[in-house]
Amino acid sequence: MRKLDVPSWLREPPSWLVLTSLLVLWQVATWVFKPAPFLLPDPISVGRALIANPTMYLVNAYYTTANTLIGFGLSVIIGFGLALGIVYSRFLESTVYTTLVAINSMPKVALAPLFVVWMGTGNTSKIAMAFLIAIFAIVIDAVLGLRTLDTEIVDLGRSMRGSPLKLLWKIRLPNALPSLFAGMKVAIGLSLVGVLVGEFVSAQHGLGYVIMAAQGAFDTPRVFVAILLLSVLGTLLFKSLEFIERRVIPWHVSQRAVSH
């Protein structure tokens, strides 16, 4: 039987084509169903709103990005430190790990108004929110990566008189990196969500603030511009981490599969 000759762009459509098709579909849907613009504006109106004031969106996107990266960075540094402690100390495992699980079960969004009272209305409360939401993913994946180790390799390292620090640096850490990156890719999105939650409660800048201000003025196209920029920002942050991952662990099976 003759195989159907499907062009490659249809078999594996590039992401830009998928996104463009979605935009076209959205525009056609608004022409056909004519929803009220305050409920669902068409992409052209959203585009116009962006073009009308691009600098304002860029400045606000800068605040959101900066707070996300700081919150994320702190969650990686402190989260990895905690993971090391949990792996090497039974005491920390039974105290810190349990506490983290308990904190993670809390509705963290409900803490956001309290953070404003405790930490003020500036950037600190947003960074804290990003940190709190993201750290759990880092700790869980880092602990998993540090623990998932062939005991024979550890024994080999010890037989070669490797110090605990050298074992960590040469064996445990490289072995944990794939898991750590997996956790970081989850955490970067969560950090962005955390900053947004903070900005929804109190902010003078940021894309969350733009959304709230636009809602207050019933300016739905402006809300959509901010939401679309957030999704672009989230994608860029995720892709940046993937890029770094490819450079740091090119030897890992997941990266070899990507390069094929």
Binding site: A36, L39, P113, V116, T121, V201, A213, Q215, A217, F218
Partner: protein
């Protein structure tokens, strides 16, 4: 012969006589009645859904008093009422058709209507703008200019959001002369009460009972310095109003009557009625009664001082539209009648309820 457990007609084979139990007759009658919609319709109450502005407060007293007294039932209204999370959200839900009627500040309605969103105010209760700056009692600040160099907490999503910069500028305070801190919803109150801000912009009579306990304050009213935004009122979407005008008219009239009843020295009864149905909220029954007392002076403007509660004035709306145009939150060229109607108030119902003879 039919046994006592018969639920329907039973044919007796021996005599071919049909015996029908009393229950079967009743059930049959009920079923026949139910199958005739014109019969049930004559007795069924009109179902209406209502979204409030916030969680329980003294401003909801007329609804709870009307429920206690059975006034909605008497008016043929079967009301489903839901607490809200801000006037803007309520206006949006009304505009989306999720609720028939809304109770909220009419300022956001003005902004929405000016942008072509088809929502119309059907009653105005708090007709004098109740927005104001809370300032520490000992500060001695009395005018907007006294706020220069101060930290002001407000909410960008609340009714004051689109107007705060315009108001300050109009009163000679440039944006860079004050520090505006946006904090959403109820989270802004503790920011002021814990002295992280020098001033709080919000609804004065609504928050005063809490401020009196947490941070004794005096206020600078926006209405006293040239910005009279309409306060609490009711709204409906234009097409909903067309379809359900009769029912909405009865509902609005009951509420207007209940307001008149409550404001006639029955603030304690009003506060108690809300608290009986909604205990455990932000306010005690006494605080809600206090809110009613504090709101009372805001029910009348110069243009409405002799009008019944609920009736809105073209003159007041003209001033509001002018301010909204100056603040660039609505385009130029809209007229007062685009924003409100007084056709939903039946004076007979209002008077009967107000005099407790309904």
């Amino acid at each position: 012969m039919s046994s006592g457990k018969d639920f329907g007609a039973t044919r007796q084979p021996s005599t071919s006589r049909v015996t029908i139990s009393r229950r079967a007759v009743l059930a049959g009658t009920a079923a026949t009645t139910l199958s005739m919609p014109w019969v049930t319709k004559a007795h069924a109450a009109d179902k209406l859904t209502l979204r409030l502005d916030f969680t329980a407060s003294g401003l909801h007293a007329p609804f709870y008093v009307a429920m206690q007294k059975g006034w909605f039932e008497k008016a043929g209204i079967d009301l489903y009422m839901e607490d809200g999370n801000g006037s803007n959200a309520t206006v949006q839900l009304i505009a989306a058709g999720s609720f028939d009627v809304g109770l909220h500040s009419l300022g956001p309605l003005g902004v929405a209507r000016g942008k072509g969103i088809p929502v119309v105010s059907v009653a105005g209760f708090v007709r004098k703008g109740e927005l104001g700056f809370f300032v520490p009692q000992e500060s001695g600040w009395k005018t907007p200019k006294d706020l220069i160099g101060k930290k002001i907490v407000y909410s960008v999503t609340s009714q004051e959001g689109p107007f705060v910069r315009y108001f300050l500028q109009k009163n000679g305070v440039a944006e860079n002369q004050v520090e505006l801190i946006n904090v959403d919803g109820a989270a802004r109150y503790p920011v002021y009460f814990t002295k992280q801000a020098d001033s709080l912009l919000t609804t004065v009579p609504g928050v005063m009972p809490i401020a009196a306990v947490r941070r004794p304050s005096s206020t600078i009213l926006l209405a006293d310095f040239g910005l009279n935004l309409p306060g609490l009122g009711m709204s409906a979407r234009s097409d909903t109003l067309e379809k359900k005008k009769d029912a909405i008219r009865r509902l609005v009239s009951v509420v207007c009557g209940a307001w008149t009843y409550v404001l006639d020295g029955r603030d304690q009864e009003g506060g108690a009625a809300v608290f009986a149905k909604k205990p455990g909220g932000a306010f005690t029954a006494e605080m809600m009664a206090e809110q009613i007392r504090l709101f009372k002076p805001f029910f009348y403007t110069e243009a409405t001082k002799s009008s019944p509660i609920g009736i809105q004035s073209e003159v007041d709306w003209k001033t509001t539209i002018q301010a909204m145009e100056e603040a660039q939150v609505v385009p130029a060229g809209t007229k007062p009648t685009d924003y409100f109607t007084n056709d939903c108030i039946d004076k007979t119902i209002v008077d009967k309820i107000a005099s407790n003879t309904y």
